[in-house]
């Protein structure tokens, strides 16, 4: 029983502040009006979903969202892990501290500024990229912002650049719990540092890696709005229109005055759709993880 008493506060919290607002999700099946509110707006069944699924660009925005997200997971996920493992093999503390502090700094640069810097650096004519390319290859550099693949790569790799240091903190913390005596014993037995890493460090952090991956998979539909929107242009839009930017633009027509018409029902619908996919993916990945190893979410 004392164990349950730990849970009283968290459970009350989660019911009041998380589950009660979820009742608002019924707006996905209603046409929202101010007077009707959450409970009395007109019931329309799946009309909002149909509207979203039948929109001309639905396939495009869905596949773009998934492409960016999966690429980001596959390319981005290993970096913090590897970085943490490498950093862990180093024992020069001051060097380690400096490296850690530097690599976690980009996490604090706001998206607006990040994209501004990228546009400057990767400008084909006068950016560092453009100048270097011309100097090395002798021809005008291809404009990375102007093609779908260029956009995707810039998006992914700038994301990795920004967050690998920050992400590695979690694994570094996990590695502190590895018993150093194991390393010593292994080294006495003639194991190399690399072998130690492979056979001691990695197994020790496998549970946390698994959980992080499962959790990451559960946000597969969440591609943030701001960075994509700022990097978007008429040439790369075929690859860069994602669900969040699509949703944003919908209310934004006929530019006569500020403000966009917010479609509460549609955004609830899209939110519900994303959440459902996320949940399904999470459950599947979690199941697989549970089968393959011992760690799983529940």
């Amino acid at each position: 029983m004392p164990l349950y008493s730990f849970l009283i506060i968290p459970v009350v919290y989660v019911i009041v502040f998380r589950y009660i607002p979820m009742l608002g999700a019924q707006l996905a099946f209603r046409r929202y009006s101010i007077l009707g509110g959450i409970w009395n707006s007109r019931w329309v069944g799946f009309e909002n979903f149909e509207m979203f699924f039948n929109s001309y660009q639905f396939n495009r925005v869905l596949s773009n969202t998934l492409r960016l997200s999966l690429y980001l997971i596959f390319a981005g996920f290993p970096f913090p892990v590897i970085f943490a493992l490498l950093l862990n093999t180093i024992r020069a503390r001051r060097f380690k501290r400096v490296v850690q502090t530097v690599t976690y700094m980009p996490h604090f640069i706001s998206t607006t500024v990040l994209v501004g810097i990228m546009l400057q650096f990767f400008n084909v004519n006068y950016g560092i990229y453009g100048k270097l390319y011309t100097a090395l290859v002798g021809a005008r550099a291809p404009d990375l912002f102007s093609s779908g693949t260029g956009f995707v790569n810039l998006y992914i790799w700038s994301g990795i650049w920004q967050d690998f240091g920050w992400g590695s903190i979690m694994y570094l913390a996990a590695l502190t719990n590895v018993n150093p005596e194991l390393h010593e014993a292994a080294q006495l037995d003639g194991a190399s540092r690399f072998q130690c890493m492979l056979h001691i460090d990695i197994p020790a952090i496998i549970p946390i890696i698994t959980i992080m991956l499962v959790l990451r998979a559960g946000s597969v539909m969440n591609i943030g709005f701001e960075k994509v929107f700022l990097m978007q242009n008429d040439l790369n839009i075929a690859a860069s229109e994602v669900i969040s930017t699509y949703e944003y633009k919908r209310g934004f027509v006929v530019s006569s005055g500020i403000g966009s018409t917010t479609d509460v029902s549609l955004s609830t619908t899209i939110g519900l759709f994303n959440s459902t996919i996320n949940l399904l993916v999470l459950v599947v990945v979690n199941f697989v993880a549970g089968k393959l190893g011992e760690t799983s979410l529940w």
Binding site: P2, L3, F6, L7, P10, Y13, V14, F17, Y19, P21, M22, G24, A25, F83, L86, L87, I90, R91, A92, R93, R97, V98, V99, Q100, T101, T103, M105, H107, F108, I109, S110, T112, Y126, W161, F164, G165, I169, M170, L172, A173, A174, T176, N177, V178, N179, P180, E181, S192, R193, F194, I208, G218, V264, S267, G271, S275, L279, T295, L297, W298
Partner: protein, 316 residues
């Protein structure tokens, strides 16, 4: 304690060995391996470092030098005008005060709720453990959305009070699950059993064993929550009306949003030009002003990553 001392000695030795680079313990393959590791880490650090230095240099440079692309790595036409302009806003002071309060109070609440939630869920013996885990995990994917949450907080009378900032985000299911995994994989079952035999109850075990053994993970989630609070502006913008309660980021974001807007069509040339140069002036100073304080807490937390050795000794 005995084992801790021993470990420290060993570490010191290993450290010296690294520095000299000639230790007997280091085989040739290890030296190559270490060289590669250092190389990769250095390269990664440099790639990260350059844009950061650029931001720093740009913040001390004249706006025209920045817009004309003359800043490479060192300030050009050194000026403090950007910082002066940013600090001229009266609300910077109030904003700092509020942000520090939200970060401290918010993080304390977060860490507390996360730990008391994660611990029971890490215990294999807890009845309905999967149900409870799912109850929390579900909230990672499904949320109420902005409007229902606002209506709830309005009904609870929390709108326009500090509670609207501190309470609705009190627990991140994500962090909770991470901590739970930590507990489950690092606190040995036999430790609990032997403690129980010695007459230790769950509260005591949590307090005297679990928490001391988990400083590293507490430091990490504390840091992540703190950074989240530090950078957060949205809930403050939505739930607060009194500017005296605003955190720094709300105000900084306004300047940043401003710098993002293209010169509007309807504006006359003079206005457009003046606004343009202000934008360029403060953009970079803003980043430095807003991130320097939170960056400076990292080294304080770092020391917890090199500790956490006690658990090893118990396990071993």
């Amino acid at each position: 304690m005995r084992s801790k001392n021993r470990l420290n000695m060993r570490e010191v030795r290993a450290l010296r060995a690294d520095r000299r680079g000639t230790a007997i313990a280091l085989a040739r393959s290890d030296r190559i391996f270490l060289a590669v590791v250092y190389g990769i880490i250095l390269l990664g650090t440099l790639i990260v470092l350059y844009p950061l230095l650029y931001v720093l240099a740009a913040s001390f440079s004249s706006p025209s030098a920045v817009t004309q692309g003359r800043v490479v790595i060192w300030p050009v036409e050194f000026t403090l005008a950007g910082y002066k302009q940013v600090l001229a806003y009266q609300r910077v002071g109030i904003g700092y005060r509020n942000t520090i309060f939200y970060t401290l109070a918010g993080t304390t609440i977060n860490v507390f709720v996360t730990l008391i939630c994660a611990y029971p869920l890490s215990r294999k013996g807890l009845p309905h453990r999967n149900f409870f885990t799912f109850l929390f995990a579900f909230t990672m994917m499904f949320g109420g959305g902005l409007m229902p949450t606002y209506l709830l907080l309005n009904r609870l009378g929390m709108v326009n009070t500090v509670w609207a900032i501190l309470i609705p985000g009190a627990l991140s299911a994500y962090q909770m699950i991470v901590v739970r995994t930590f507990f489950a994989s690092t606190i040995p079952d036999d430790l609990l059993e032997s403690a129980k035999i010695d007459g230790c109850n769950d509260y005591q075990f949590f307090w005297y064993f679990v928490l001391p053994l988990s400083t590293a993970v507490i430091a990490v989630i504390g840091l992540q929550y703190a950074v989240g609070h530090w950078n957060s502006y949205f809930s403050a913008m939505i739930y607060l009306q009194n500017p005296d309660l605003y955190p720094l980021q709300v105000f900084l974001r306004e300047i940043l949003v401003m710098s993002q807007i293209d010169t509007p069509e309807f504006m006359d040339d003079h206005a457009a030009e003046a606004i343009q140069s202000m934008k360029n002036l403060i953009k970079y100073a803003l980043i430095v002003v807003s991130t320097a304080p939170i960056l400076s807490i990292y080294p304080l937390i770092q020391k917890y990553f090199v500790k956490g050795v006690m658990i090893g000794s118990i396990k071993g």
